[in-house]
């Protein structure tokens, strides 16, 4: 179960990443953020963001037009 959720649906690059960063900033280490987005580019970008920042991408999935990510804050 996520500690916090972020709805980034309808937002285009780079807003899902910027919103994710902003939300993570207010969370504690180890907490999980669940993000939903509709930007197909966010699949590659969310993985790259997590690789670079050390936050752990726990899951990346899609259902219909909606992509869901779970990120554990480093």
């Amino acid at each position: 179960m996520a500690d916090q959720t972020l709805n980034a649906e309808g937002l285009n690059c780079p807003l899902p990443i910027l919103r994710a960063k902003k939300t993570l900033k207010g969370m504690s280490s180890g907490q999980v953020l669940e993000i939903t987005a509709t930007d197909p580019g966010s699949v590659a970008d969310m993985a790259a963001f997590c690789n670079q920042t050390g936050n752990e991408l726990l899951s990346s999935s899609s259902e219909g037009d909606v992509y869901t990510y779970e990120i554990r804050k480093a």
């Binding site: 285009n12 807003l15 902003k22 670079q52």
Partner: protein, 167 residues
């Protein structure tokens, strides 16, 4: 807060921003804010026509003149903008409004939003002092939190940056 070892390992990027039209404002702000979100230390140096991007009141447009690659989606197809269109009074403002409407519809951030994100993400933004003098602007015309500097200020920063871009 980063500790000393993290600071030493922190990546950095500088961008020289030389263009202030609506279309050209996007690449530096998108890359700058995204890099900062990825823990990269970012410095943006605004010079010549890029300087207007720091003004308190943004009024960005762009020209369809000589913009041969520009195709706007229209009624299911794409329409090129003939050079003649740019001669019509108000064409630049109209093209700017059309582009802004299209961007809002597609969930693309406004330049105002991206610039606000740049401030939030503590991007170092430097206005070129010479350009300020040349085009008769003062620091009061610009948003808060910016620095003034010149070529040497930029160079000092660029020499220790991992990535240096000129846009």
């Amino acid at each position: 807060m980063l500790d000393d070892s993290q600071l030493e390992n922190a990546k950095s990027m500088s961008i020289i921003v030389t263009k202030g039209t609506l279309d050209w404002a996007y690449p530096p702000f998108i890359l700058g804010t995204t890099a900062a979100a990825m823990d990269v230390e970012v410095t943006m140096f605004f010079t010549f026509y890029g300087l207007v991007l720091l003004k308190k009141d943004l009024d960005l447009g762009f020209s369809t003149l000589g913009n041969a690659a520009m195709e706007m989606p229209m009624m299911g197809g794409h329409m090129k903008m003939p050079n003649m269109v740019s001669m019509l009074p108000g064409a630049g403002a109209l093209a700017g409004t059309m582009m802004k409407n299209l961007m809002a519809k597609k969930g693309v951030a406004s330049i105002e939003d991206l610039r606000e994100a740049a401030v939030d993400l503590e991007i170092r933004m430097i206005a070129c002092q010479m350009t300020l003098d040349l085009f008769e602007y003062s620091k009061e015309d610009m948003i808060d939190g910016i620095e003034l500097g010149g070529a040497a200020t930029y160079m000092e920063n660029a020499l220790k940056s991992d990535i240096n871009l000129f846009i």
